[in-house]
């Protein structure tokens, strides 16, 4: 018997219907984008700000939020902490949805979507491009996540032969599930290098961009597992898995400390520490962002606080906001293409992104109810 079970229950709950309406509004604007007037008709993208929230939120931040599967694969299979296994399947599902919809966002943000396949033709590949690495590697990882999640579906459908075959190569799939995010999450940072002076000096670490991107991805990956598990406990009235989550919190301490310390050292070496206290908009954003990383460090370093579910949740949310802000700040908020350009997302642009998020949550809710995703409670 499987250790996982479908949650059951009604599909069309009130929250589900609200989400569905948001999704429909998103679809309306998607129609405008693809059929009526192009990206210009729905977005505020311009020649200075060629990347707006569709890239920076949906892909840069959305895939980092989807790093739960990555963080747990590292913990369970590389560091051999089997006790975290119950958290794996829901995390892999959330990762699959986050990445798949990030991929879909890349498609509707793609100016020449009808020839998207050009990036998959080896004759076109430019090996100097971090974007090539991101495009190919994210695509490969979506397939890997689908394979990692396939057992839930195969169990449900009773296809045990296929399940057995999949289990034989599972070690390779999981190894790729650790390697691929390491590659493309760091490349998301590398994209910032070529943007040069347009990236604010407080965020332009050049050679070290991939390291910060990777650290922030792992921090957000661990945080999202804590956040999702806590939300599931509250939302579905399940027993909270606080001791497990507290253990994950500990794993983040080193990552958080590394992120903060290396960042300060880089700014010191670059002679840019003064910019933190310049008092301008960018310095405020930097201080706020740093505070969002320091607060969880303070909580997690305390032996009593770090064992309380509510405090853990605060730490997780703070890290998610901090990581999201780090990417928002670097790619968009303090990004400066030069005089004469400004950007704030339009309402339709925001609605398309919200529609995608709504779709993601809807599929998650349906999947945990129909498929064996959540771990069987021991004392249900």
């Amino acid at each position: 018997m499987s250790a996982y079970q479908p949650l059951g229950g009604r599909i069309f709950t009130k929250p589900f219907i609200v989400l569905f309406i948001i999704f429909l509004i998103g679809c309306f604007f998607m129609y405008q984008r693809f059929v009526v007037g192009g990206m210009g008709a729905v977005s505020n993208l311009n020649d200075g700000y060629a990347w707006g929230i569709w890239v920076v939120y949906d892909i840069m931040i959305g895939t980092a939020f989807a790093c739960g599967g990555y963080a747990l694969a590292f913990t369970v299979y590389v560091f051999n902490k089997g006790k975290y296994h119950p958290l794996v399947r829901p995390a892999v599902l959330a990762s699959l949805l986050g990445y798949a919809l990030g991929g879909f966002s890349a498609f509707f943000d793609m100016g020449r979507f009808w020839q998207f396949y050009e990036i998959f033709l080896p004759g076109n590949w430019n090996f100097n491009s971090a974007m090539l690495e991101v495009g190919l590697c994210v695509t490969a990882y979506i397939i890997i996540l689908a394979l990692e999640f396939a057992p839930a579906l195969l169990e449900r459908l009773g296809m045990h032969g296929l399940l057995k075959a999949l289990n034989k190569v599972l070690f390779l799939i999981i190894a790729l599930g650790v390697l691929l995010p390491t590659m493309h999450q760091s490349s998301l940072g590398s994209l910032l290098i070529a943007m040069g002076h347009k990236v604010h000096p407080l965020w332009q670490s050049m050679h070290l961009q991939p390291l910060f991107a990777l650290l922030s991805a792992l921090i957000m990956g661990f945080s999202i597992v804590v956040f999702e598990a806590s939300s599931a406990a509250v939302g579905f009235g399940r027993k909270p898995e606080t001791p497990l989550l507290a253990g994950l919190g500990k794993a983040v301490i080193g990552l958080l400390a590394a992120f903060l310390v290396i960042r300060l050292i880089v700014l010191m070496v670059q002679g840019r520490l003064g910019l933190i206290f310049a008092g301008d908009f960018a310095s405020m954003m930097f201080i706020l962002e740093t505070a969002l990383f320091v607060v969880p460090l303070y909580i997690l370093l305390s032996p009593t606080r770090s064992r309380r579910g509510s405090q853990l949740l605060i730490a997780a949310v703070s890290m998610l906001l901090g990581g999201a802000m780090y990417r928002f700040d670097a790619y968009l908020i303090t990004y400066n293409p030069g005089p004469g350009y400004s950007y704030f997302p339009s309402a339709p642009e925001i609605m398309i992104t919200l529609g995608i998020i709504a779709l993601e949550i809807m599929i998650y809710l349906v999947a945990v109810k129909l498929l064996p995703v959540l771990h069987r409670e021991e004392h249900a």
């Binding site: 311009n46 020649d47 590659m183």
Partner: protein, 323 residues
Amino acid sequence: MKRRDFLKLTAGGTAALACGVAEARPNLEANDNAIGMLYDSTLCVGCKACVAKCKEVNNMPPEIDGDKLAWDSARDLSDKTHNVIKVYKNGTATVKDAEIDGYCFEKRSCMHCVDPGCVSVCPCTAMRIDAKTGIVTHHPEVCIGCRNCMVGCPYNVPQFEYDNVFGQIQKCEMCNQPGVERIDKGMMTGCAEACPTGATLFGTRETLLDEAKRRMALKPGEIYNYPVGDVRKPDKHHEKKVPEYKQHIWGEKEAGGTNVMHISSIPFDKLGMPPLEERSAASVAETVQHTVYNFMALPAIALAGLAFVVNRNIDDDDDGGDA
């Protein structure tokens, strides 16, 4: 996996990484015979004949600002404007080429970088450097529209047709794109041909750089015979008093240099040029990319290590049975 094993693996990976770092990718080298242009802001009278000629050659519509129907009033580069003349104004704006209370003109068009960011970042090789002419060309037939070229260009040159469902990137290709091919036919770029004062001068990068250096060395106030058209075989010359040039040839060295160079009597940061260092951001990005992905060796080693460790730990789970 034991912590010690992991540390060993990490140390091995770092050592491999360190070996790769040794080979930093320097800036690409300038092609002296590359086709280029020299824009001398002090010669420009703002007539915008170059803007009109550019539209004619590239078959692009005028941009009308409000009710000014008499002329093309494009204010900046756009998907319909490959070349534009902008104005610098300060205070009373009465003295030409004076930084204080003065005004001057500045051209915006593709700089045709020696080490172009757009070419470096494009995943599909839709941006290329022409080996013979040094022109940075665009190839929409392989472009997916990710617009990395736009964020990767220090000058915000590539423009996307946002208002077209089936839009494409637009940029200056020195009037040598298929169907136009002015350079291949031995002609000048449209803007250089149209320029009545020689403010936009045509030539090779080498001859234009020589001309720019010659002007830098002139004494303000003396008379210089300025060439018009192609610096190698000018259509005509005209005599003019030499202004006080800033001793700075924009594009000689900036981010690896450009084939379109600018000189002026007003500092370039005042004219909206970006704060660039000599090393191109593209060369740093490629150094990082090639260090990590050289022959895919590092990822391959990492995958082998991970597969080994994961395989052992999955077995552990079977034995321990807590999975």
